[in-house]
Symmetry: C2
Subunit: 159 residues, 2 copies
DNA sequence: TGTCAAGTGTAGCAACGGCTACATTCATTG
DNA sequence: CAATGAATGTAGCCGTTGCTACACTTGACA
């Protein structure tokens, strides 16, 4: 028992591994990203709906995300608390300036990621699915690298 | 008011948009991916710890993720329910065969994504952060495209 | 104008992943 | 062998995102 590992602390556990902190940092980053993912998706969707139909109704938002309307309602309420949308009882939902600029950033980012995956040779279907997941985890630097690749590829190579 | 949009249903809302289902499908995919993300991260971490110290203690797992030990405990319990790990009171945590193979797949996938981002020119720091987030949303096809790109780039180009 | 269905609101439940506070076990060490 | 502190277990709280069931508004149309 106890075997292979060298120990220091009285009851086992690692000798205050230096790697731990670096890892924890990355995962903390991920957790906070998760909190904003939903907001980004909803804001972008609301912008799309307003674009398409002139307004964003709760039922449409829920339908597009494939969730029940109370679920969508709760999220809209949160977005309102955060100052991204405005919502009055039985009325459609609107974006604030803050919400609108977030939506525009997300839309652009989404398009870059999607175009990038397609340029890499991924099928349209998988590119669309993966882009939805990947876009929220792309740093500014990575996004720029994606954009540069798309430009490079479409500019020269792949006939 | 009501303005720009053409309406059909009695109370507004979109005319059963055909786009809705396609979108909902992608988001459903994302939600299910989120459910497995944590499991993947933990299983991979446990494998790393066993590799490094011969065993995986709860306190080390919690430390590496930067969460409290009860949080890690709950997740370990869930992994055990799902048959990915074994855990006995006051003992260290082990992977089942299922857990081990999942960990190996995740580790390989992580390495491909990380190498890919670096090959694209992303800095080490951002590549590591982004890889943690991106890896869970990469389909088999996209992963292969990433791997192919890494091979291609390291094989010929960038001296 | 009254009816009625669609849309919206609200209540309450579950699972997940955070946390703190406190109880328990275990292994080292005196 | 007993004590002590680290590791683990447990209880209970919160917020988020799911859900169903039921109540209420609204707007279109007979």
């Amino acid at each position: 028992m106890m075997s292979t590992a060298q120990r220091k602390s009285p009851r086992g556990s690692a000798p205050t591994l230096p790697t731990a902190e670096r890892h924890a940092e990355a995962f903390e980053h991920i957790r906070s990203a998760h909190q904003t993912e939903t907001a980004e998706d909803y804001v972008e969707m609301i912008a799309d709906l307003i674009d398409a139909h002139g307004e964003a109704r709760l039922v449409d938002i829920a339908g597009r995300f494939g969730v029940s309307h109370p679920t969508a309602k709760k999220i809209i309420d949160r977005l309102q608390r955060e100052g991204l949308v405005t919502s009055r009882p039985y009325r459609s939902i609107f974006l604030t300036d803050k919400g609108r600029s977030l939506a525009e950033y997300c839309k652009r980012r989404h398009q870059v990621v999607l175009a990038f995956l397609k340029a890499l040779g991924v099928s349209d279907r998988n590119a669309e699915i993966d882009a939805e997941g990947i876009e929220h985890h792309v740093s500014k630097e990575t996004l720029e690298a994606f954009a540069a690749f798309v430009t490079r590829e479409s500019g020269s190579g792949q006939s």
